[in-house]
């Protein structure tokens, strides 16, 4: 019982800094996913459309994914010229990770659309651009959004690492607990909030997916 009262006391005293950390965490985690999602649409289109890009994009993607996040966070300032403590570094690093994942799933999703459906659309008089936006893209959405869920959840947990080099987010609560001599309350609060945030973001994407792809439910698929 005493642990929960400690937890409560910590929240009571520090609620404004906890809220600030949470807000910053949301920005640092979700902004990169949003940027990567927008960039992945044309890139995924190019990979799906032109075979040459496929190999390059997938190899580049898997190399980016192999680079440890802390290393990437620290290398970006040297390449881009930002200061080490600039939150922009986190946004760039996480955008790269998300992009590596999303370009692949976007291309997979676009490729998974049945050719006969596309031919039917063409036969009905759809011009290529309209066909892509109103037929192929919506049908590819379940696969694309599945990738978006993975990227979002991974980002929310990865942002914490940034606290090690002094950039905000819920990771600050972990380093705070460390500096206070492994004081558990801020650590537990940070963990719970981080997992809850990932869960909520995941649920939101699932709801958007249901709204965007009503046919998936009508067919009784999952």
């Amino acid at each position: 019982m005493s642990f929960f009262s400690e937890l409560w006391d910590y929240l009571d005293i520090n609620h404004s800094s906890v809220v600030e950390a949470l807000t910053q965490h949301i920005w640092l985690a979700l902004l990169p996913v949003a940027i990567a999602f927008v960039l992945a649409l044309p890139l995924g289109w190019a990979v799906d459309r032109f075979g040459v890009f496929k190999h390059i994009a997938l190899t580049l993607g898997s190399i980016i994914y192999t680079i440890p996040s802390l290393a990437l966070l620290l290398l970006i300032p040297g390449v881009v010229g930002t200061s080490i403590l600039d939150p922009t570094n986190v946004v760039i690093a996480l955008t790269l990770y998300s992009l590596a994942l999303l370009v692949r799933t976007t291309a997979d999703g676009l490729g998974s659309v049945d050719d006969s459906v596309l031919q039917a659309a063409t036969a009905m008089g759809y011009k290529p651009a309209k066909r892509w936006f109103t037929v192929q893209l919506p049908l590819a959405m379940p696969v694309i959004l599945a990738g978006l869920r993975v990227a979002t959840v991974a980002n929310v947990s990865m942002v914490s690492v940034a606290a090690l080099i002094g950039i905000g987010g819920l990771g600050q609560l972990f380093t705070r607990g460390f500096q206070l001599g492994f004081y558990a309350p801020p650590i537990v609060i940070g963990l719970v909030l981080s997992v809850l945030l990932a869960l909520v973001a995941d649920i939101v994407i699932v709801l958007v997916q249901r709204w965007l792809t009503p046919w998936a439910r009508a067919a009784g698929a999952r």
Partner: protein, 240 residues
């Protein structure tokens, strides 16, 4: 970018405890220990869940929940519970590595075609034989894909061991940051990144040795050796 620290021969001395070779070995030590324990826990459970189909809910949700857990927080919590040292770091890395191994082992075994398992049962194989001689070899590309994924994450995350006073390649990152020696930070980051890529390539090579050519499609691509019958065997696609 400044590569002085990375290219300084003194930092590559084989005997100095704070030179790259020793730090790389420390790093691989933390990684290997955590992976061994994680495989020992996750692999049998994943095989069992995949084989029996019982507890699939657990395998899927552990995989998802694991992705959402920030390892830094898990490490700090472990430190506040058991104190400083190798144990909490290993615990955190194991918690990081178990979900991908468990989820992919389960998914790999689940992806084995039902008729293949039925055929194995039909020719009189026992449940254990089916699991080890049919399901495991067919699931191996996916299972090893999960292991590679877990290895990458652990190598990447083992850098935070240095934040709580241990060794490994994270030392260069945090020592460099604390004295504003960016050249040292760059060296550490480059060596970790290269180490991760090299280990992944090594594991890809091992995967090639272990996976049967009939499973990953190499037999189909080999000229003339593949008969039409071989083409009828479904080839599980690695999802990573």
């Amino acid at each position: 970018m400044n590569f002085d620290f990375l290219l300084d021969g003194a930092n590559w001395s084989l005997s100095a405890p704070d030179a790259f070779p020793h730090r790389i070995l420390e790093h691989l030590g933390y990684t290997g220990l955590a992976l061994l324990i994680a495989v020992a826990i996750a692999f049998p459970i994943g095989m069992w869940i995949g084989h029996t189909g019982r507890g699939a809910f657990v395998a899927i949700n552990v995989g998802n929940a694991g992705r959402a857990l920030p390892t830094l927080g898990v490490l700090m919590l472990a430190l506040s519970l058991v104190g400083i040292g190798l144990l909490p770091v290993t615990v955190a890395l194991v918690i990081l590595a178990v979900p991908p191994i468990l989820a992919t082992t389960y998914a790999g075994v689940r992806a084995v075609p039902g008729e293949t398992v039925d055929a194995a049962r039909g020719v009189g194989m026992t449940s254990t034989q089916i699991a080890l001689r049919v399901e495991l070899p067919i699931a191996l590309p996916i299972v090893l894909g999960g292991l590679r994924n877990a290895t990458l994450q652990v190598i990447s995350t083992a850098t935070i061991a240095a934040y709580v006073g241990l060794g490994g390649l994270g030392r260069y990152l945090f020592d460099g940051l604390s004295v504003s020696d960016y050249s040292q930070v760059v060296a550490g980051a480059v060596v970790v990144a290269v180490l991760a890529v090299v280990v992944d390539l090594l594991l890809a090579g091992i995967q090639r040795l272990l996976v049967s050519p009939g499973i990953d499609g190499r037999a189909l691509r080999a000229p003339r050796r593949a008969s039409a019958d071989v083409a009828a065997v479904p080839v599980p696609q690695s999802t990573t």
